[in-house]
């Protein structure tokens, strides 16, 4: 399997009157098409880890290889370029632009990248929204959509540039159970089609449906659990050189 994300001895400190260590020595490899759930108690550093892996933040120490590129020494502008091309983000809050329709919100990252013609972008956005069950909603504005619909538009936006990696930070945190189920099965489906998904969640039932559950405590990986559904997958990982160290809490 191809390694998509490789983190080596990641440390993230916030310097101040009191120096806080958010992430304290994390090693992690994520393979292509893998669905990794990051769990942990609040304040454990699980979101911080996601932001580091998603290049939204830079580590104080350690290295992150993303699609084979070492990124920790990159400039903000280079990281922005890599995010635009290769990473799709989903947050707990949808962050859709309120003045734009669902379709235009999905088109936005494509226009920023500028790889397709405007009509191709619109076509792709419409088919993405339709595939997520929003065919009727493409011209509606965010305030005309329900919470679950908004989050699905946000997923379509994350998928718009066909990224290799989806980074999701509590994507179901603000949703009801029906919407939660929808969003989660979409992410599961995305991973099954070969896009790597890294998802922070505190919902253990959902985490159990990921290929692997990484439990973060006090800025360190406390436990890694491989879920039975992808046993064969895990087997490979266990025998690879990149087996993550399983630290004890």
């Amino acid at each position: 399997m191809k390694t998509v994300i490789k983190a080596v001895n990641l440390v993230r400190r916030i310097e101040g009157a009191v120096t806080a260590t958010l992430i304290n020595g994390v090693d992690l490899n994520v393979e292509k098409g893998e669905f990794v759930a990051i769990t942990g108690p609040s304040g454990s550093g699980k979101s911080s880890l996601l932001y580091l892996l998603g290049l939204l933040d830079a580590p104080s120490e350690g290295e992150i290889y993303l699609l084979g590129q070492e990124t920790s020494k990159m400039s903000e502008s280079e990281r922005a370029d890599l995010r635009l091309k290769s990473i799709g983000f989903i947050f707990q809050f949808h962050f859709l632009l309120p003045e734009f329709s669902a379709l235009d919100n999905v088109v936005l990252p494509m226009r920023t990248l500028g790889r397709l013609s405007l009509s191709d972008m619109r076509e792709r956005a419409a088919s993405l929204l339709t595939s997520l069950g929003l065919g009727e909603q493409i011209s509606k504005r965010p305030n005309q959509l329900s919470g679950g619909q908004r989050q699905r538009v946000a997923i379509a936006r994350a998928l718009s540039n066909e990224p290799e990696i989806i980074m999701a930070d509590e994507p179901t945190g603000a949703l009801d159970t029906v919407s939660t189920e929808q969003v989660f099965s979409i992410l599961r489906d995305v991973a099954d089609r070969g896009t790597t998904v890294v998802c922070v969640t505190h919902d253990m039932a959902l985490a159990a449906r990921a290929d692997r559950r990484v439990n973060v405590v006090d800025g360190k990986i406390a436990e890694i659990t491989f879920n039975p559904r992808s046993v064969s997958h895990c087997g490979e990982l266990l025998h690879s050189d990149h087996t993550p160290t399983v630290a004890s809490a």
């Binding site: 979101s47 932001y51 939204l56 933040d57 903000e76 502008s77 922005a80 370029d81 890599l82 995010r83 635009l84 091309k85 990473i87 799709g88 983000f89 947050f91 707990q92 809050f93 962050f95 632009l97 309120p98 003045e99 734009f100 936005l108 990252p109 226009r111 920023t112 990248l113 936006r157 994350a158 930070d169 509590e170 945190g173």
Partner: protein
């Protein structure tokens, strides 16, 4: 449409009321600045126009530009003089006819000789010191607007009476004189009796009260010097050529020639200070008018922190995000400028309809407004620069915000 402009347009148009207030601020600033420029420049130009109309453009005086040579200097190559006493007698322009012929050969405009004498004017009831200006009525029309400034009588009436005299309306009123009133004019030993044949109003009180016109002959009698011409007045077709013409006349005739600009140098330099004050006030007005932009851009940015965060998170560059908000201020500024142009034009038009009574000549006049395209463009440029400047302060702060900080806060 360009993505940047599209987002900016969406932000601006979804806040119609706030945007309108900001546009209104710029529009009022631009409008009143234009009005002020038109008024200030208008009154200044109007004043200069009156000045140029009333005054000779170049006055050639009977004053030699070089000090006369000592008698010894005529004889010897080298002369050492100790405390020479130079008594310069102003005896008028020597051979005025030759000078006039020379000037008429090239000067573009009217030329007229005159004889100026300081005299005492005595009416039945009182005395007043005035300057008698001996003129040639046939030539006068070419150098001054006296003919059109006549309130009673005509220039040619000077020929009708012996020692006919034209006095200012103000002076006539002061002494209850009118056409036909007898006056006594005295200059030194000479005393003549004359008759008022007309009145004039120049628009300048000083001139109206202290200057009277007679035929040159009469003035020469008063001066006790037959054939005296001590001033040649030149009225150019283009008043702005005066300094050059004056310089050339001075070189040719060796008589002092003064352009109207030189004669009014203090006045013209006071215009410079006036201009400076005008520009400062206009600048301040424009600056204040952009405060609205600062406020609306700050508001939009604080409302749009989430949008900024998400756009940056999926890879929009800082410069692009900055561009969005700068474009917003440019849109508001641009619309404000357009509205301001209209307001400014209408204000100018309205003010130009206001009339007032000129205290000098009692005429009803409209306020003079100077219209110039350059003001509209200059004001727009300054307004646009201040608008983007006003927006830049909040924009720079906003785009520096790290998306993680906002995303954490929102979750």
């Amino acid at each position: 449409m360009n993505l940047l402009v599209e987002i900016a347009w969406a932000h601006v148009t979804t806040r119609i009321r706030q945007t309108s207030v900001a546009i209104g601020g710029v529009a009022i600033g631009v409008g009143f600045t234009i009005l002020m420029a038109g008024l200030m420049q208008g009154s200044q130009k109007d004043f200069v126009r009156q000045l140029v109309d009333t005054m000779p453009h170049v006055t050639v005086k009977d004053e030699r530009i070089s000090t006369s040579r000592l008698a010894a200097e005529e004889k010897y190559a080298v002369v050492q003089a100790r405390n020479p006493v130079v008594t310069e007698k102003r005896t008028g322009i020597r051979d005025p006819r030759a000078v006039l012929t020379l000037l008429r050969s090239w000067v573009p405009g009217g030329i007229a000789p005159s004889t100026k004498v300081s005299t005492m004017l005595q009416f039945g009831s009182g005395r007043v010191g005035v300057t008698v200006m001996g003129i040639d009525p046939r030539e006068e029309e070419g150098v001054s607007r006296l003919a059109s400034q006549m309130r009673s009588g005509q220039l040619n009436d000077l020929y009708k009476a012996s020692n006919g005299i034209i006095i200012g309306v103000a002076l006539a009123k002061k002494f209850g004189a009118r056409v036909g009133t007898n006056v006594t004019v005295s200059a030194g030993e000479v005393q003549i009796s004359g008759t008022v044949v007309g009145t004039f109003s120049s628009g300048l009180r000083d001139v109206d009260e202290s200057q009277v016109y007679t035929l040159m002959r009469t003035a020469q009698v008063l001066a006790g010097n037959q054939g005296l011409v001590n001033e040649i007045r030149v009225h150019l077709k283009d008043a702005l050529l005066a300094p050059d013409v004056a310089k050339r006349i001075q070189q040719q005739t060796e008589y002092r020639a003064v352009s109207w600009q030189e004669a009014n140098a203090d006045l013209l330099s006071s215009f410079k200070i006036r201009d400076l004050i005008m520009y400062l006030v206009m600048g301040a007005m424009l600056l204040v008018s952009t405060f609205g932009i600062y406020s609306i851009i700050s508001t939009i940015i604080s409302e749009k922190r989430h949008d900024i965060a998400i756009m940056k998170s999926f890879g929009m560059k800082e410069g692009f995000v900055r561009g969005i908000f700068i474009t917003e201020s440019a849109i508001i500024g641009g619309l404000g400028i357009l509205a301001g142009w209209l307001i400014g034009y209408l204000l100018c038009w309205g003010v130009s309809k206001i009339t007032y009574t000129n205290p000098l000549n009692g005429e009803t006049q409209a306020i003079y407004i100077y219209y110039a395209m350059t003001y509209y463009i200059a004001v727009a440029m300054v307004a646009l620069v201040s608008c983007t400047g006003a927006a830049y302060i909040p924009v720079r702060k906003a785009t520096r915000v790290h998306p993680v900080d906002i995303i954490r806060g929102a979750a």
